[in-house]
């Protein structure tokens, strides 16, 4: 027993040894591949995930989300809350205090002026800052001393962690970007390609849409980190090739976002070079049901609340559409382990996830048929149901994407079994998701009866996400067809919950409200959730320290990555 304990202790000591002795740069080089190549290292100018994550190796926020979705201090020592006095009682200000001795990679100190400048940079007129929503309602960022700033909000903010939290709103160096405010932002090519940061690495060579070379930041706050002395961040190709480079040929150490068929991934992993990691966030593939009539004869008023939909306003029809879907099968075909069937449009974090709608997990074609029969929808000679001359015939649109077209085909089949005729349509993603108000084919205009896409929200707070389905969010001609309430769902009760949440600070109370809103949308069947989509990445067997984070940048803890000896 003693011998065994000693041996175990010795083994543990050996295992710990590389960690304990690790010093900056001792583990050499690490290769990362993103099959979408980064174009910029400045998340304020480019909102793309690829750019955001590449930049997160270099520039950092004051606090960020960890893998469980909790906020952790990053450039500060503590996260301000109402309890510790960091957030004002009336929720209109939050006080951040930078950690002591923080340095930029060029050796100059990080000060509260840099924090204030980051806000000024993103809110400057004409800059087209992609993250300006993070700074909504911020009236001022007051500099108290070199290390302390107070962010003032114009209204009371129950969730004051928008500015400077998460990979979307990092701190940039004031002296580097001083001449890049507003319309001058694009002219600062050098600053946008190699920002000076506080992160574990600094850019040595940036080739847009191709490759980024980075080296360890010699002024990083932990003297022993990062373990790697240099990084090659390669972009381009496709998900299959990226997966192959990590899992089969071993040329790369980390591959991001491998949206591949489950069997393809399993095959690759069997080569034994690396492993797949997956995690779930808030991304839900869903079908939006249009509550308005999109008949082209209506002209300008097409798709507005003035003309209710001829049959989708019948809740029984919407419920039957949802009941006819086999979510488990869709998940298995489309996403494998990287997806799970979802009955909620708000599936996570755990405290916001409702269990009231789980009945949808089981397909019930007979039940759906019975429901439609009871509602008076009679099958016609061609099997399509009708009532008072209105046929259940729909146009179902989505973006062009292999998985989505598979889903469309399956769902069309199931809906035909309940007597609903479906015409399928797919549109190029750049048109469908493009905000061109002149195009009739955008997902906001929604000139179809149902449409399918996926959406999520940044961070962990669902307040603004749930506010998407308030009446005023409906896209309509007066808003140039902008807005997030695609179903044009409108309920006073729902709007009241939205208003209540915007003034409620208590986390449990907020969870109750968010769940109530989710349940209302689900039980009204205006949104039909299908699959909760996870994130799948892969890393080599020799790369240690990877913790997949779906709430922030995947590279959030790259400072802790290290080489494992086999």
């Amino acid at each position: 027993m003693n011998l065994k304990a000693t041996l175990l202790g010795a083994a543990a000591a050996f295992a710990m040894a590389p960690m304990a002795m690790a010093e900056r740069g001792s583990d050499g080089h690490v290769n990362i591949i993103y099959w979408q190549a980064p174009s910029l290292m400045n998340p304020y100018l480019s909102g793309g995930t690829k750019d955001l994550e590449a930049a997160s190796l270099v520039i950092e926020p004051l606090a960020r989300y960890d893998e469980t979705g909790a906020i952790v201090p990053w450039l500060v020592d503590t996260v301000p809350t109402v309890e510790n006095g960091g957030v004002a009682e009336d929720l209109t200000s939050i006080t951040w205090t930078l950690s002591e001795g923080l340095l930029w990679s060029d050796g100059t100190p990080v000060t509260s002026a840099d924090v204030r400048f980051s806000w000024e940079y993103c809110t400057a007129e004409g800059g087209g800052c992609a993250q300006s929503e993070k700074y909504n309602d911020v009236t001022d960022v007051e500099i108290v001393d070199d290390r302390t700033v107070i962010v003032h909000f114009g209204i009371s903010k129950p969730f004051p962690y928008g500015p400077f939290v998460g990979a979307q709103s990092p701190i940039i160096q004031a002296s580097q970007f001083a001449d890049c405010l507003g319309a001058a932002a694009p002219s600062c090519t050098d600053a946008n390609f190699s920002p000076i940061g506080t992160g574990p690495f600094t850019v040595t060579d940036f080739r847009p849409n191709d490759v980024i070379s980075l080296e360890a930041n010699q002024n990083y706050r932990d003297a022993n980190l990062p373990a790697f002395s240099s990084v090659t961040f390669k972009g381009g190709g496709d998900a299959t090739a990226a997966g192959r480079a990590v899992l089969e040929t071993g040329e790369f150490d980390y591959a991001w976002n491998l949206q591949l068929a489950p069997d393809v991934l399993a095959n690759m992993q069997s080569a034994g070079q690396g492993q797949i990691v997956s995690g779930f966030g808030t991304l839900v593939e869903r079908i939006m049901v249009n509550m308005t009539d999109v008949n082209p004869d209506l002209g300008e008023e097409r798709g507005t609340a003035a003309h209710p939909h001829p049959f989708l306003t019948d809740r029984d029809v919407r419920q039957a559409l949802s009941m006819a879907i086999d979510r488990a099968l869709l998940t298995e075909i489309g996403y494998g382990d990287a997806g799970r069937p979802s009955c909620n449009v708000l599936p996570a974090p755990a405290i916001y996830a409702s269990t009231a709608n789980d009945g949808c997990l089981v397909q019930d074609i007979a039940g759906a048929n019975a429901l439609l029969d009871a509602a008076g929808w009679e099958r016609g000679s061609d099997g399509v149901r009708e009532r008072d001359g209105v046929r259940l015939s729909m146009l179902y649109q989505t973006s062009t994407n292999a998985v989505r077209q598979d889903f469309q085909a399956l769902i069309k089949q199931w809906w035909s079994e309940i007597g609903v005729e479906t015409e399928l349509r797919n549109l190029d993603a750049s048109v469908f998701f493009g905000g061109d108000p002149a195009s009739p084919d955008t997902f906001q205009k929604f000139f179809a009866d149902v449409e399918m896409y996926a959406n999520n929200f940044d961070g962990t707070d669902p307040e603004s996400y749930m506010a998407n389905w308030a009446c005023e969010q409906a896209p309509r001609p007066e808003t140039q067809w902008q807005g997030n309430n695609m179903p044009r769902f409108c309920s006073e009760e729902y709007d009241a919950l939205v208003a209540e949440m915007s003034t409620t600070g208590d986390i449990n109370e907020r969870a109750r409200l968010a769940k109530a809103m989710n349940d209302m949308l689900m039980q009204e069947y205006v949104i039909i959730p299908l699959v909760d989509r996870g994130r799948v990445s892969a890393h080599s067997n020799t790369l240690g320290g990877v913790i997949l984070n779906t709430w922030d940048s995947e590279l959030w803890n790259a400072a802790d990555w290290h080489r494992l000896s086999n």
């Binding site: 591949i33 087209g128 932002a185 040929t249 750049s430």
Partner: protein
């Protein structure tokens, strides 16, 4: 000849302007939105601000004139200044990419070396093996060599590069053990600088797969042209005359037949050169060479109109230029052809 060249070059100016306009109109009228690829969590008002900061708020003809000025005046001035050091450029607006917010031409010059190395070398290798194969296949028509050559070129012609590329990757990068001499990388390292023997070997090794794939495709095309052209000439009267005069077979084939057969082949080869600069979209994507082809395709996907416009107009200019080169080469190969 000189007059002809000058006349053609002058004519190229309105042609290019017209092509620019057509391309611009096509790109502008086509649906697409540079902010469409952003996450949906970015609200539409913010996307609208981004579009305005890109200059999309202006009318199309203003955007076109601005682009023409930046591309045809500012960019050449900038080039002159960076080559000679004269102060002619000032600080006028250059053509900026919507994706990188940096001058498109800088990225083009950054991408050019890897495209020329891989795609250019593949073209050269392809042409060098295609010409002899074409000659021998024609001279020994229906022989074993001809049959095999036809078979191989049919494969090269009809099997797409995204298949041959991935096939070679699976064989040489996946199945081959990592420590084997025959193991070849599947991902091209564009940051590699050739400074010594070791890096040179590395560069050669990473070029083998993409160059092989492209060379097979190019060789298949050119060898068919070469063979057909040789066959046309071999049955001509002047060949019989040459043989009757008692010239050696070597002289007949290489001096008389080859020179005449090269005329159409030179056109094909010269007109293919602009495609080298255009990069090989698929092969570059398969091997992650990230040259001009990859730049073009990512710009198209991101609706980055200034980049797509600049690249396509450069390709158009190259096509016009190499057409002229081909015409001049005719005169060199066949002294009877004179343009003045």
């Amino acid at each position: 000849m000189l007059n002809f060249t000058i006349r053609r070059l002058l004519l190229a100016i309105p042609t290019l302007l017209f092509i620019s306009l057509i391309i611009f109109l096509l790109l502008t009228l086509a649906p697409g939105d540079p902010t469409a690829n952003l996450p949906l969590s970015i609200p539409p008002e913010v996307k609208q601000q981004i579009r305005e900061s890109l200059g999309l708020g202006q009318a199309w003809y203003i955007r076109f004139v601005l682009w023409v000025k930046a591309f045809y005046i500012t960019e050449p001035l900038y080039l002159i200044e960076s080559l000679t050091g004269w102060d002619v450029y000032g600080d006028q607006q250059r053509v900026l990419s919507w994706q990188f917010r940096s001058p498109v031409m800088d990225i083009v010059t950054q991408r050019l070396p890897q495209t020329l190395w891989v795609v250019g070398l593949a073209y050269l290798v392809g042409a060098l093996i295609a010409v002899p194969i074409g000659i021998i296949s024609a001279y020994r028509q229906y022989s074993m060599f001809d049959q095999i050559g036809t078979f191989v070129s049919m494969i090269g012609f009809s099997v797409p590069t995204f298949f041959t590329g991935v096939l070679l990757i699976v064989i040489f990068s996946v199945w081959m053990p990592l420590d084997s001499f025959f193991w070849l990388p599947s991902i091209y390292d564009t940051t590699l600088e050739v400074t010594n023997w070791e890096t040179f070997v590395k560069q050669v090794r990473q070029m083998i797969l993409p160059v092989t794939v492209l060379a097979l495709f190019n060789a298949a095309q050119i060898s068919r042209f070469m063979r057909a052209s040789m066959l046309d000439n071999l049955n001509q009267d002047y060949v019989r005359t040459a043989r009757a005069k008692g010239l050696s077979e070597k002289t007949v084939v290489f001096v008389h037949v080859l020179r005449n057969s090269m005329i159409p082949v030179v056109t094909v080869i010269a007109l293919g050169v602009p495609q080298v600069f255009g990069g090989a979209i698929i092969t570059e994507q398969v091997f992650k060479v990230n040259g001009l082809g990859q730049l073009l395709i990512t710009a198209i996907q991101a609706s980055d109109i200034p980049t797509v416009q600049t690249l396509t107009v450069i390709f158009a200019a190259l096509i016009i230029f190499f057409n002229l080169i081909a015409d001049i080469l005719y005169g060199v190969l066949d002294p009877r052809i004179r343009y003045d």
